[in-house]
């Protein structure tokens, strides 16, 4: 592999193209082996596990956080569902209560109306009875007055004393 030294390369250590100069091949291999082995051992035993564990730890931490977030979200969803369910229950109960109240109120109103109507009907009957009684009484008094008047008229005109009972009988005959 060694090339004859072209002019201008005289200052090279052994006069050949340096990368092909075998003088230091053994030295290069020797030091490469040492440095590469040291690098390999330090990286594989020390540096790489350290970086790897840091990354792994971070990954675990992120996964844990994601899990925690997911479980919290599930809890929140559950809470929302429970809340909605209780809200629906409450609404149904409110509707039922309102329906009951309306029914009761309607029933009471109907009873009240019936009661008041009955009362009013009774009062009306009573009032009618009183009116007819008053009329009867008034008519009776009219008969008395008419008998008195007829008796006094007969006395003044004919000079005949008419008994009150006769006068009344005469009035009744005239009226009927």
């Amino acid at each position: 592999m060694a090339q004859p030294s072209p002019t201008g390369y005289e200052d090279a250590a052994s006069g050949v193209f340096p990368p092909f100069d075998p003088t230091y091949f053994a030295s290069q291999l020797f030091w490469l082996a040492i440095s590469f082995a040291v690098l390999y051992i330090l990286l594989s035993r020390w540096i790489l596990p350290r970086i790897g564990s840091t990354i792994e730890e971070r990954k675990d931490r992120i996964a844990d956080d994601l899990d925690a977030a997911a479980s919290l979200k599930a809890q929140a969803d559950e809470a929302v569902k429970t809340y909605e369910r209780s809200l629906a229950d409450a609404r149904a109960k409110a509707r039922a209560v309102a329906g009951d109240a309306r029914a009761v109120a309607e029933r009471e109103a109907a009873e009240e109306t019936a009661r008041i109507e009955a009362e009013l009907a009774g009062k009306q009957d009573e009032a009618e009875a009183r009116i007819s009684e008053a009329r009867t009484k008034a008519l009776g008094e009219v008969c008395n007055v008419a008998a008195d008047v007829a008796a006094s008229v007969a006395e003044h005109l004919a000079g005949v004393k008419v008994k009150k009972a006769d006068a009344e009988k005469a009035v009744d005959e005239v009226r009927s």
Binding site: F20, A26, W31, S35, L39, Y40, L43, L48
Partner: protein
């Protein structure tokens, strides 16, 4: 004009010489940058991840981004069971990226104050590529036994075509380490030579003086543009190396699904 020599930046100089059993194992500027790349990678990542906060800061975000980036790469190319190779792919990616990026510094607090790109040397990239191939073949045979060789017999091909397809598959498999290493090496080498050549033009035109010195603005603009491109290439080649490693590892893990 030695400083405008575009090849000089690839030279290796010993800092502390020593040899074992006749092998020259000197600590060189290349070794310096390798050790520095490892030190910086570990240091920066250690500081960035020291707090390990649940909500990451800026530095920690970058470290985690890098981690996830490579992890996704492995997962998408080699499947979840490919993650056992994640440290390997991450090490390859981090080492090549850091070496490429350090190479982008023209001057550096290093011996000679000169930057150096570790991955611009073929021997380094070949070593890395061979490491990948040895692991692919070794693990593939260990896990799947002889079934591993089914990667040379893709499913759904009419039987007579295996005469043609199988040699092609074998050749493509054998050329993998070559293409893997040459790609990284050639990209870094060519990019750095190009930068140095255009930077050399600035110096030469400036030295010529007069109207030619004013023309020197053109290679300067070129160097600025190329530097941006080279930063992209530095990242991209590290990424490509990591992706191809994952794809090859996928063969070892699942030889049936070729």
């Amino acid at each position: 004009m030695a400083d405008t020599n575009p090849i000089k930046q690839f030279e290796i100089h010993p800092i502390a010489e020593f040899s074992v059993a006749g092998l020259n194992l000197s600590f060189t500027n290349s070794s310096y940058f390798m050790v520095l790349a490892v030190g910086l990678t570990i240091g920066l990542l250690a500081v960035a991840t020291s707090r390990a906060a649940l909500v990451p800061g800026r530095a920690q975000s970058v470290a985690e981004l890098l981690y996830e980036f490579v992890a996704d790469l492995v997962r998408s190319s080699a499947g979840n069971d490919g993650l056992k190779f994640f440290p390997l792919v991450f090490t390859l990616f981090a080492f090549i990226l850091m070496a490429n990026m350090l190479g982008m510094m023209p001057y550096f607090p290093a011996p000679d104050f000169h930057g150096f790109t570790v991955t611009s040397h073929l021997i380094v990239t070949v070593a890395l590529a061979m490491l990948v191939m040895v692991i692919v073949v070794g693990y593939g045979l260990f896990k799947n036994g002889l079934k591993f060789f089914s990667i040379f017999f893709p499913a759904g091909v009419p039987a007579p075509l295996y005469v043609i397809v199988t040699p092609i598959e074998i050749i493509s498999f054998l050329s993998r380490p070559i293409s893997l290493s040459i790609r990284l090496f050639a990209n870094m080498l060519a990019g750095h030579i190009l930068l140095k050549v255009f930077a050399g033009f600035i110096v030469m035109l400036g030295a010529a003086g007069g109207a030619l010195a004013a023309v020197g603005i053109l290679p300067f603009l070129m160097v600025v543009a190329l530097t941006a491109l080279e930063f992209l290439v530095a990242f991209l080649q590290a990424y490509v190396f990591a992706v191809l490693t994952c794809i090859y590892l996928n063969d070892a893990l699942h030889p049936g699904h070729h």
